[in-house]
């Protein structure tokens, strides 16, 4: 049952990801990207992390993609992107084929050295996935979390300064 669901979702995810790059109309690309994000959210649910799934939909599909669609709307990109950028696509294609090959090689012939982590299905069901993430973020990895938030703050200040006419 779960395997069937996985393959169905994976097919949809891959097809829509292909369409993101292939569509001439930027609105269609954006819609396909949203579909890909929703498929990723389904994967998170299958991996027993519903919190991550909700955040995936809220942040990526609900906020970031809305902003991208907003920009498409304001710039009216409909006609501007119609010429093909063959060189870039070819280079990226070669690069991703290479990465796919290397990754496959490692998966087939490499040896798994890591052991199973402490977070198993039993731990998640007894303790709660949201609580685990909260603990990891605000207790175990507090310093990296704070550093990331300072980075975001710097970015926000930068955006405000760039958009202001007189500082």
């Amino acid at each position: 049952m779960e395997a069937i669901l996985f393959y169905l979702t994976a097919t949809v995810a891959i097809i829509s990801a292909v369409f993101v790059t292939q569509c001439r109309n930027p609105i269609n690309s954006a819609l396909n990207l949203i579909t890909t994000f929703l498929c990723l959210a389904v994967f998170y649910i299958m991996l027993e992390s519903p919190f991550m799934a909700a955040i995936q939909i809220m942040v990526y599909a609900g906020a970031i993609m809305v902003l991208i669609v907003f920009v498409i709307m304001l710039l009216n990109l409909g006609l501007a992107v119609k010429e093909r950028y063959t060189h870039g696509i070819a280079g990226a294609g070669v690069l991703s084929a290479l990465i796919l090959f290397v990754a496959n090689y490692f998966i087939r012939y490499g040896e798994a050295t890591g052991t199973g982590g402490s977070v198993t299905s039993e731990v998640i069901s007894s303790y709660g996935h949201t609580e685990l993430i909260g603990r990891a973020m605000f207790v175990d990895f507090l310093l990296p979390f704070e550093i990331a938030s300072i980075l975001l703050l710097v970015a926000i200040v930068g955006a405000v300064i760039l958009s202001k006419r007189e500082v």
Partner: protein, 352 residues
């Protein structure tokens, strides 16, 4: 005898049947309320403005929603020739679906017990209890934006585009304030599941035995969060005074200018479905859900209808905000207040 919980693996047919019944009941009830919310809105606003409202179709005009539906159903469905047809067709569906999906996590009553094959089963009156319930609703509300954005973008019309741009900006700004105002509720209830939040509101107020007749509804501990949530939700579902995306005086009809027939009706159904969803969430989070003096779902319906009456009342009373006032209210008043509310709640939890 403690009741058994239905599971898919042990009693597959019973489980599937019960789930189907729950889904159909919730869906049909929502659709009925949507249909008669339009009637109620026209009647109530009519009465508030010293008019009659619809009164010709059927007794007291009660068949008016059905007549409207039939009329819109048989109208010609026009797609503008320059429109982006796929997004144009997709938009009404994308605005309606999230509103209905959100209903699925809302508990509308206590446990229902019944005996089948000699075993006592307990069925929660809620389609499904996700342990991230509230986040799920927030995520679905975020997806609802796409309906309006796509409608504005695909119509290839200046009015629709302006309506779409306005609504995008408005929804993104108010989503933040709404999301942050709910955070204070999680901090008190220590769970994200809506069932857990309702259960936490059934103890006496602040754990005091002397006033045990008052339930511990979060509106008493979090009045500020409640006000922020109601105002923000009104902005998120584009109700007056925040209905700038479809401001008739400036934008003809905003994002749905180019729509006709059933697609146009879907936009209006979505508006009322969103109103029901928001009322249901507000009564679950702040007013104790199905808790109260009567039997479970009756309490819940009374609270939902009270909220909907409030929204209609506001529409009859308030003028529309100006765009800069809207942005000012969202970013400079509601967002800081929501943050302050979280900090104060955190300090209060640490102290007591």
């Amino acid at each position: 005898m403690t009741p058994e919980v239905l599971t898919l693996s042990e009693t597959p047919w019973l489980f599937t049947g019960v789930m189907l019944v729950k889904i159909i009941v919730a869906f049909v009830a929502t659709l009925l309320i949507v249909a008669y919310a339009t009637y109620a809105e026209r009647k109530i606003i009519g009465r508030m403005q010293s008019r009659m409202g619809p009164n010709m179709t059927g007794p007291k005009g009660l068949l008016q929603p059905i007549a409207d539906g039939l009329k819109l159903f048989f109208k010609e469905d026009i797609i503008p020739s320059q429109a982006h047809w796929f997004a144009f067709i997709l938009a009404p569906m994308m605005i309606l679906a999230p509103a209905f999906i959100s209903i699925s996590v809302i508990p509308f009553g206590g446990d229902l017990q019944f005996t089948y094959d000699g075993t006592l089963y307990a069925v929660p009156m809620q389609i499904t209890d996700l342990n991230i319930g509230v986040l799920f609703i927030v995520a679905m509300a975020g997806l609802g934006v796409y309906g309006i954005v796509l409608a504005g973008l695909a119509s290839n019309s200046k009015y629709a585009l302006l309506g779409g741009i306005r609504s995008t900006a408005q929804m993104i700004s108010y989503e933040l304030a709404v999301g942050l105002s709910i955070v204070a509720i999680f901090m008190l209830s220590e769970t994200l599941s809506l069932r857990g939040i309702v259960a936490a509101q059934q103890q006496p107020l602040w754990g005091l035995e002397s006033v045990s007749f008052i339930p511990n509804w979060y509106i008493f501990c979090q009045p500020l969060a409640f006000v922020l949530f109601v105002i923000g939700s009104m902005a998120e579902i584009n109700r007056t005074p925040f209905d700038l995306p479809e401001a008739e005086t400036e934008l003809v009809s905003g994002f749905c200018t180019e729509y006709s027939a059933m697609k146009y009706a879907l936009f209006f159904m979505a508006e009322y479905a969103n109103m029901i969803t928001v009322s249901a969430i507000a009564s679950t989070l702040f007013l104790g859900g199905w808790g109260g003096p009567f039997y479970g779902w009756i309490n819940f319906l009374i609270k939902v209808f009270a909220f909907m009456f409030f929204f209609i009342w506001i529409r009859a009373t308030f003028p529309r905000l100006r765009y800069d006032q809207l942005m000012f209210l969202g970013w400079k008043i509601m967002l800081p207040l929501a943050l302050v509310n979280i900090v104060i709640t955190g300090i209060a939890i640490l102290l007591w």
